[in-house]
């Protein structure tokens, strides 16, 4: 799909999210809800007393019964639908050709862990913090944009061997 058309439709979806639900489009918040919900299911008393989880389970609320979790469920279906239409639904490992699969999977796991911590500390990810933040000109979105992309360019320079084949080798 043309990137400008895709971006335009994505923008309309963000507007719809704000208009109907009063929510931004997000991802890490939904994963947080799932993590908290699993803890709530196993150890409800621990969850109710934990300062970070408590606000999400107050008054017997289920931490997973949230708008963001339903939205994430939709993402799964939407991505599969598009992959089927474009003929891209298959098992594979995405990586630069010179990287071994094993190394790619370890790096992906490590990157994920960093995102898990970073999103909870920074209050959202590229969609919930940055994209949805920019959509309403919130300062948090601009700080997130500068931090994620600013740091990204510096780390990309330092770790270019992950994505670009080293020269003269």
């Amino acid at each position: 799909m043309n990137p400008y058309l895709g971006g335009f439709i994505l923008g309309l979806l963000i507007i719809a999210a704000y208009y109907f639900a009063g929510e931004g489009l997000g991802s890490s918040g939904g994963f947080r809800d799932l993590a908290m919900g699993s803890i709530q299911a196993v150890a409800p008393e621990f969850a109710a007393e934990h300062p970070y989880i408590a606000p999400h389970v107050a008054d017997g609320h289920s931490a997973t019964h949230t708008w963001l979790v339903y939205e994430l469920l939709g993402v799964v279906f939407g991505a599969i639908l598009s992959a089927v239409l474009y003929g891209r639904l298959r098992w594979s490992v995405g990586k630069a050709p010179h990287l071994t699969k094993r190394r790619r999977l370890y790096l992906a796991l490590l990157g994920g862990i960093l995102w898990g911590v970073g999103t909870q500390l920074g209050r959202g990810c590229t969609s919930g913090l940055v994209l949805s933040g920019l959509a309403v000109n919130s300062m948090s979105g601009y700080i997130g944009l500068a931090a994620i992309f600013g740091a990204g360019y510096i780390f990309a320079f330092l770790f270019r061997s992950i994505w670009l084949k080293p020269k003269n080798k």
């Binding site: 799909m1 990137p3 895709g6 971006g7 335009f8 439709i9 994505l10 923008g11 979806l13 109907f20 929510e23 991802s27 890490s28 947080r32 993590a35 908290m36 803890i39 300062p51 708008w67 469920l73 939709g74 939407g78 639908l81 598009s82 639904l89 594979s92 995405g94 990586k95 050709p97 999977l105 790096l107 992906a108 796991l109 490590l110 990157g111 994920g112 995102w115 898990g116 970073g118 920074g122 209050r123 590229t126 969609s127 913090l129 994209l131 949805s132 920019l134 309403v136 000109n137 300062m139 948090s140 700080i143 997130g144 500068a146 931090a147 992309f149 600013g150 740091a151 990309a156 992950i162």
Partner: protein
């Protein structure tokens, strides 16, 4: 007048159903524009693929202009939505951690879920990492994070207002910066095109 659900103009079940439908659109667009391809995402940082930058900022500007006009016309009160509160210190620190995670892991949470759904095994590893990271954060919250996460509180801050610029003028400047960025990224991508192999170009869909 919106937002509907926070003002009890939409019942909770419909709200969740709409969330599910919006999610379908979100996942579809992420896949259709190529955000499930980790190499296209890394192209943001190396310049060989401008797709992600174009899609991302077009989305941001569409939503920004749309919501600005709707707020102006009284169709939605943006301050009755979840309008994010700014905690500048943890967002800056967390953002740097996410920036490192982006380069090392090649995804962000939303793109990894889409990619995992379409069979990318590296995205499964990434998602496992995200959950490990979140559990780790929760279980070490009291000792390590509680103070830092609550620091630098500024409240609900509108960035142009904070800068002392009229919102309409700010948005206009944003559009100008975005168009310049698109042009420069396109040049960067063209510059790379001669250096990439045919396999690379096929995989990136360029």
């Amino acid at each position: 007048m919106g937002p509907l659900y926070p003002q009890e103009l939409l019942n909770p079940e419909y709200n969740l159903l709409i969330g599910f439908l919006i999610g379908i659109g979100f996942g579809f667009i992420l896949e259709a524009t190529g955000f499930t391809n980790t190499r296209k995402l890394a192209g943001v940082f190396y310049g060989y693929d401008a797709t992600v930058i174009k899609t991302f900022f077009t989305a941001a500007l569409t939503a920004l202009i749309g919501l600005f006009l709707m707020h102006h016309w009284g169709w939605i009160d943006i301050y009755k939505t979840f309008y994010p509160s700014t905690f500048w210190i943890p967002t800056l620190v967390g953002g740097v951690v996410m920036g490192l995670g982006f380069v090392v892991g090649g995804f962000c949470p939303g793109t990894s879920l889409s990619a995992a759904s379409t069979g990318k095994r590296d995205a499964w590893a990434f998602l496992a990492g995200v959950m490990i990271g979140i559990y780790g954060f929760i279980f070490t919250y009291k000792t390590w994070w509680a103070g830092l996460r609550a620091s630098g509180k500024l409240g609900k801050v509108n960035f142009p207002q904070w800068l002392g610029i009229k919102e309409g003028i700010f948005i206009f400047l944003f559009v100008v910066v975005a168009v310049i960025t698109f042009v420069l990224y396109q040049k960067w991508q063209n510059h790379w095109k001669t250096k990439l192999t045919k396999e690379d170009l096929d995989e990136l869909g360029l």
